[in-house]
């Protein structure tokens, strides 16, 4: 028996009392997607409910990614709108039983940002968490094998953070005198082809 997205959101609101940090479930008017925010401390208890509750049954973790909200909504000189934390981990879940998707967001505080792993709940999280660690430096506590995944062996830094430059920090070339590959600070200048702008709604109508 399938459930609609509002039924799932209602069920989550019922469960909200069980978790001290609270659960915030919202259906977007724009896209009709269900987004749930949960405190990092309640994460494991909550995702177990999501997976095992017969009215939810989110059996598959389709996607997991880090998001860096450092510059979110930044416009000119105005200060960036406040967020609970700089980093968040976003989980996309799929319930095949109810044919519904759910987006779960947990803000991660601290440096390095630390959150519990969900590899024991959904094994597919393994590489996704390695990727988020590699690109954002989010540490997943209890992960069985938290190594870098996509960047080069010996890479320094977390390239998808907003304060990491697009052109990178080092460049590499073959040095014929030393007869090996050497790393040097980048020599090219960063440039922006199309400036970033935020236009008000109905701009140019």
């Amino acid at each position: 028996m399938t459930r609609t997205v509002t039924e799932i959101a209602d069920r989550l609101k019922q469960l909200s009392g069980e978790f001290p940090g609270g659960v915030d479930a919202q259906v977007s008017g724009l896209t009709g997607e269900l987004t749930v925010e949960v405190g990092a401390a309640d994460l494991i208890a909550f995702v177990l409910r999501l997976r095992d509750d017969p009215e939810l049954r989110f059996s598959q973790l389709t996607d997991l990614c880090g998001v860096d909200y450092l510059e979110y909504g930044a416009e000119g000189e105005a200060p960036v709108p406040e967020r609970p934390a700089r980093f968040a981990v976003v989980y996309h879940l799929l319930s095949m039983k109810h044919n519904q998707r759910l987006r779960l967001r947990a803000y991660v505080a601290g440096e390095p940002p630390l959150i519990a792993t969900v590899t024991d709940v959904w094994p597919s999280a393994n590489w996704f968490e390695r990727e988020a660690f590699d690109l954002f430096g989010i540490v997943f506590d209890g992960h069985p094998d938290l190594r870098r995944l996509l960047t080069d062996y010996g890479f320094i830094g977390h390239p998808f953070r907003k304060d990491f430059p697009l052109i990178g920090k080092v460049e590499m070339r073959y040095d014929p005198e030393k007869k090996r590959v050497v790393y040097e600070p980048v020599s090219i200048e960063p440039r922006v082809l199309v400036p970033r702008v935020i236009r008000e709604e109905g701009y140019g109508d």
Partner: protein, 417 residues
């Protein structure tokens, strides 16, 4: 008595059976794999980070380069995510064109897969056959977009242009005389739709040929039956999608379960496997090619009967017609703004997924209201499949590893992104 220890072996990154740049560190006990540790990222180009620095439309071309054997399906996922946030619905004709090209892409992808997979397992002929058919389909790509592979054909709000009324033709040369050229041009006398229809008439016969070569072939079955078995529950938990999941017997296809575009108006079947081994995944993909062909025929029939626009006329996201631009000031301004600044998406987030030939291809788009994405996450099916490599090959022989890589249908453009 001497102690016998496992030894580690390096497989790739330049091994012909590694399908690109996969480095596998294998721990072997004799010829039996104890542990496989795939090292990926050798093709990492930070597509997601690059997209953050560009207006939305300029990243469509990057999507082609993710899974470079199913180009248009990648574009489709990205374009759908933008349309979802914009609340934009493309014209019906554009939706049919997209579905038709998605299915052409599916055949393209599966042809490359069967060619490469069979070649890895030792059947040379398949590769030659599959590439013969791919040539025709890439001509379809070329006819609509001007390029054989990286098309950038789908745009938010529709497709770049309508289907052409004529196909390009061969000319006599010192390699092909008049008579040969006449034969080669036989299907190219009419429009693109005529060409596609002629292909779809031939294609089921070709699939029969492939099946004659492989399905009951003793060597093929010895190499694939019972290899890399994944149980249905395990396949779901591991995040499998597409033919990898259906091969394990789970009937899950986004085209049917969460229909997008016009899939709910089309008639097609979803093949599923029974045991979840490499052979079942092979059978699923072969049947998918037949089903795709069936869908293409329905789209061709509809597209013939229903001319119409292929792009929304909202000039905030779609460029105005070139002709009106020359005499209308408003159109000129729209054109200028669109190509110098792009368009802004409302602040929010969206996840759109399509049934890509390899599985669920999704784009998670976070927008803060600017003309560039704040964050783009690409959910590539191959990434999830290869992460289960260790589990699938453990306890198998070294030669079976090659069959498993082949049956996962890995392309590193999307794994590394």
């Amino acid at each position: 008595m001497t102690e016998i220890r496992n030894y580690t072996m390096n497989f790739g990154p330049q091994h012909p059976a590694a399908h690109g740049v996969l480095r596998l560190v294998l721990e072997l006990d004799g010829e039996v794999i104890q542990r496989a540790d795939p090292h990926v990222g050798l093709l990492h180009r930070a597509t997601e980070k690059l997209a953050e620095s560009k207006p939305y439309n300029q990243s469509i071309g990057y999507m082609d380069r993710l899974d470079y054997v199913s180009m248009m399906c990648n574009e489709h996922g990205y374009v759908l995510a933008i349309e979802k946030l914009l609340g934009l619905e493309p014209p019906v004709r554009a939706q049919y064109i997209r579905v038709m090209f998605d299915e052409i892409t599916r055949i393209l992808n599966h042809l490359l897969w069967i060619g490469a997979h069979a070649l890895d397992v030792g059947a040379m002929t398949m590769f030659l056959y599959a590439f013969r058919e791919r040539e025709d389909l890439m001509d379809c790509y070329e006819a609509v977009s001007g390029t054989r592979m990286h098309a950038t054909y789908y745009r938010p709000g529709g497709v770049y242009r309508d289907l052409p009324e004529s196909m390009s033709r061969y000319e006599p040369s010192k390699w092909h005389n008049e008579k040969e050229v006449e034969r080669m041009n036989a299907d190219r006398q009419g429009s693109l739709l005529d060409f596609i229809e002629a292909f779809s008439d031939r294609f089921p016969g070709y699939v029969d040929e492939y099946e004659t070569l492989l399905t009951d072939n003793r060597i093929w079955k010895q190499r694939t039956v019972g290899i890399g078995v994944v149980e249905p529950e395990r396949a779901i938990a591991l995040g499998f999608t597409g033919p990898m999941l259906r091969g394990s017997g789970v009937e899950w296809d986004l085209r049917r379960k969460q229909p997008y575009e016009v899939y709910d108006r089309l008639d097609f079947d979803i093949p599923v496997g029974a045991t979840g081994d490499c052979y079942d995944r092979y059978l699923v993909r072969m049947e998918e090619m037949r089903q795709s062909n069936h869908i293409i025929r329905q789209c061709v029939a509809w597209l013939r009967a229903n001319p119409g626009p292929v792009m929304v006329d909202n000039h905030k996201v779609a460029p105005p017609h070139r002709e009106t631009m020359k005499r209308d000031m408003e159109s000129l301004i729209h054109h200028f703004k669109l190509f110098t600044e792009g368009y802004c998406l409302p602040a929010g987030e969206a996840y759109a997924a399509v049934e890509h030939p390899k599985g669920e291809f999704g784009c998670y788009l976070v927008s803060d209201g600017a003309n560039k994405p704040y964050r783009l996450k690409i959910r590539a099916p191959g990434f999830v499949h290869i992460s289960a490599m260790d589990e699938m090959v453990r306890g198998h022989m070294l030669a079976d590893l090659v069959a498993v890589i082949g049956s996962q249908d890995i392309v590193f453009g999307e794994v590394d992104r």
